[in-house]
């Protein structure tokens, strides 16, 4: 059997499955039924095979994601303290959020982080992708080098290094000292601590860059040629050809990076010593959630916070999709 036949089979089956003609006898219906039975058991066998191949993923999904999510939803309606019993308290946890100043502060910090770092990161990623797309020698090497921070950026080691670099005696201030500039304790000053984390996120531009690079390769060269013939300069070509044709990719990266940035945890945890300090200036939403759940014996509330975060991220993603109608161009 060739691939073609396999592909065609369901279609032909569908056509014979039409209401039986007047010539159809009981025999033929019986025959069809038994054939159907055969097919059924075969497809059942196949679905078992499919299931068993999917099992590792499904077990993971159910045990590590769906199960805890359901438990968390339940716990968000309780006063679970992590070391005691969970008592149902209805919507109390959600009501408490309304006058929780630190929650508000943490949302403020997180939103600032997302809305500054994601656009900067994407601009950086697109810029470098454009440069690399020009056909640099040794492209794979550059691509790997630029991609590296994306792999490392979320790691504990990099966060510790970041702390050193931006410390009072750190690399940044040593370089500034060469120009007779007296640097700050960038991480210990509440006015700048968040900026260093934004910079860290921008630095991990590699993964959107690689996606942009692939997107740029998809743009047919003939559009550029046509634009050039019409006398369009590089800027005009960028805004009238590259950007419009790249909008689906930009959109994809935007959605992904916003979701990621909302969930940022490791960097802030390490850089701020786990407290979101100094003076709550790096109190990311996730850090506050962790603090409530694991150090303040308030896991019920933390569970409710987790669901609020899900809602917030869902809301932003939905907004993103709604707005995409006005600027994303799918080329058809």
């Amino acid at each position: 059997m060739t691939d073609n036949e396999v592909a065609v089979a369901p279609a032909s089956r569908r056509s014979t499955g039409a209401p039986p003609g007047p010539t159809a006898t009981s025999d033929s219906t019986r025959g069809r039924r038994s054939r159907k039975g055969l097919r059924k058991s075969a497809s059942r066998r196949q679905s078992w095979a499919a299931l068993s191949f999917l099992a590792p993923f499904l077990v993971g999904l159910l045990v590590i994601t769906v199960g805890p999510m359901i438990a968390s939803l339940y716990l968000s309606f309780t006063d679970y303290s992590l070391i005691g019993d969970a008592n149902w308290i209805g919507l109390d946890n959600y009501e408490r959020m309304l006058d929780d100043d630190r929650l508000l502060a943490s949302i403020g910090v997180t939103v600032r982080y997302v809305f500054i770092s994601v656009p900067l990161q994407l601009a950086m990623a697109l810029g470098l992708a454009m440069v690399l797309d020009k056909g640099v020698r040794g492209l794979p090497i550059y691509r790997s080098i630029f991609y590296l921070p994306s792999l490392l950026g979320g790691s504990v080691a990099i966060a510790i290094m970041w702390r050193q670099i931006f410390g009072t005696e750190g690399l940044v201030n040593q370089v500034l000292a060469l120009f007779d500039i007296q640097g700050q304790g960038w991480i210990s000053n509440p006015d700048y601590a968040l900026d260093t984390l934004i910079l860290l996120n921008v630095w991990t531009f590699g993964s959107p860059m690689v996606i942009f690079l692939a997107g740029l390769r998809q743009i047919p060269a003939m559009y550029y040629e046509a634009a050039r013939v019409d006398g369009a300069g590089p800027a005009r070509r960028f805004f009238s050809v590259t950007i419009p044709l790249l909008t689906p990719i930009i959109f994809f990266n935007l959605v992904l990076q916003i979701i990621n940035a909302f969930q940022a945890f490791t960097q802030a945890f390490i850089v701020s010593g786990g407290k979101g300090g100094p003076a709550d200036s790096t109190l990311f939403y996730t850090l506050y959630l962790y603090d409530r759940g694991f150090t303040a014996f308030d896991m019920g509330y933390a569970s409710a916070l987790a669901w609020l975060l899900l809602l917030i991220i869902g809301l932003f993603t939905a907004l993103n999709f709604l707005m995409s109608k006005f600027w994303v161009f799918y080329g058809d």
């Binding site: 438990a71 000053n189 509440p190 300090g277 100094p278 996730t286």
Partner: protein
């Protein structure tokens, strides 16, 4: 340096658990605790590498003395210990024996996760009654203090000399004397008078409040000081900052985050800082010279002295242990046996066992000996120690830090810092 993580979960996994469900813990609970054989205990403690090493030796000695007993350890550093412990407890894997701390003792005891230690064969007869009462709630002993520490001001005499000053009389000096002294050191040398990584320490503030006849917590578990007292405390800090007697706000935040080992006193760029008496040896090693132990200022300025002997840490046991007898034997061994005390010396405070305390005093290393002498000399002047802190006390250090940092940066005034502390602290211990 690799620590066994008692929960078996990495911090990132925990973070994800928090994020994607905050609920991995109860699921783990469902996976449950395998019913350990009797004689197989788990033991959990925090500390430095040194403490891990000698504690392992104590465990080995205990296993040798008791056939068929094996003890599995899990260790952590202070910062990660409490996260790990509450996840372990929540997962049904409460350690059979664990180190505990006064700020958390009530939290765990009142949630029925700790075993009453009164009738499991531990010999209380030589234990300091004052230490014992520090671990008792409603007439039951949930934690036994390993030993006692006192807070003291460590002073680097070389820097005092460099400034051309005399070491003040610490028995009578007031907080104003202290402020004048550290300010003068800062102005006469290129060092700072005080490291300022302790003004957010609630134990130090408690001493200040006690000197005024108040206290951090009442026995009923409410806050026990007036707002004026705390505002006065923060005003002292801002005055010191304005006088440049302490480092800049950024430098303080940075050295506090880097750990007390990195404080100006430790690095030789500051003259003084408050420490517990069992930390003297470690600090002298870092500074490389002998330090003076001074009493906290203000002891004779008010109606009563504020200093007290704090149980350094507690031994506690998990309520769901399946071998109470061995647990009792182990804690008894840790507190009362020669082997254990010879190895521990004063690392877990000046031993709670008074007989053992006497026995080891002459042989202590120099720094520990001076710490012990400091406590001995101080003890007759003290009044009753503070009560066991209320539930939620574990959050107080964070809340102190959260008002201390903006205060240093000028984002809060002493008054608003007090206001914010009171509102957050009340909701934490409410």
């Amino acid at each position: 340096m690799k620590h066994t993580n008692p929960s078996g979960l990495s911090r990132r996994t925990l973070a994800k658990a928090g994020l994607f469900g905050a609920a991995a813990a109860p699921l783990l609970a469902a996976c449950g605790k395998d019913e350990g054989e009797s004689g197989e205990l788990t033991m959990m403690w925090w500390g430095s590498e040194d403490r891990h090493e000698y504690t392992r030796k104590i465990i080995a000695a205990f296993e040798k003395a008791n056939d068929g007993v094996s003890i599995e350890e899990s260790v952590a550093e202070w910062g990660g210990y409490w996260d790990a412990l509450n996840v372990s407890v929540s997962g049904g894997n409460t350690p059979d024996v664990m180190q505990h701390e006064e700020r958390y003792l009530r939290e765990y005891a009142e949630r029925d996760t700790l075993l009453a230690l009164d009738d499991i064969g531990i010999d209380f007869s030589n234990l300091d009654p004052a230490v014992l009462s520090g671990g008792q709630l409603d007439g039951k002993t949930y934690g036994i203090g390993t030993g006692v520490n006192a807070l003291c001001l460590l002073l680097n005499p070389a820097i005092v000399e460099e400034a051309g000053l005399e070491v003040p009389d610490d028995k009578t000096w007031s907080w104003a004397d202290f402020a004048a002294f550290v300010t003068e050191i800062s102005s006469k040398t290129d060092k700072v008078g005080n490291s300022a990584v302790s003004f957010n320490n609630e134990a130090l503030f408690n001493i200040f409040a006690r000197q005024k006849g108040e206290s951090l917590y009442t026995p009923e578990g409410a806050l026990g000081f007036t707002p004026e007292t705390m505002t006065e405390w923060w005003t002292m800090v801002t005055d010191l900052l304005a006088a440049e007697a302490i480092p800049s706000a950024e430098a303080i935040v940075e050295s506090a985050a880097a750990g007390k080992d990195q404080s100006p006193l430790a690095t030789g760029t500051g003259a003084s800082e408050f420490y517990w008496t069992n930390q003297v040896g470690g600090l002298e090693e870092l500074v490389g010279s002998e330090l003076l132990l001074l009493r906290v200022p203000g002891e004779t300025s008010g109606p009563q002295p504020g200093l007290y002997l704090k149980p350094a840490m507690f031994w506690a046991a998990g309520a769901d242990t399946n071998d109470k007898e061995t647990v009792g034997k182990l804690i008894d061994f840790l507190l009362n046996s020669d082997e254990s005390i010879d190895l521990t010396l004063t690392d877990r405070g000046l031993p709670a066992n008074l007989e053992q305390r006497e026995r080891i005093l002459p042989d202590l290393p120099d720094a520990d000996k001076r710490g012990a002498d400091f406590i001995t000399e101080l003890t007759p002047d003290l009044v009753e120690g503070p009560p066991v802190p209320p539930i939620g006390a574990g959050q107080i250090p964070d809340i102190m830090l959260r008002v201390y940092e903006p205060l240093l940066f000028g984002d809060l005034t002493p008054e608003t810092a007090t206001e914010q502390f009171l509102s957050e602290a009340e909701s934490a211990i409410g």
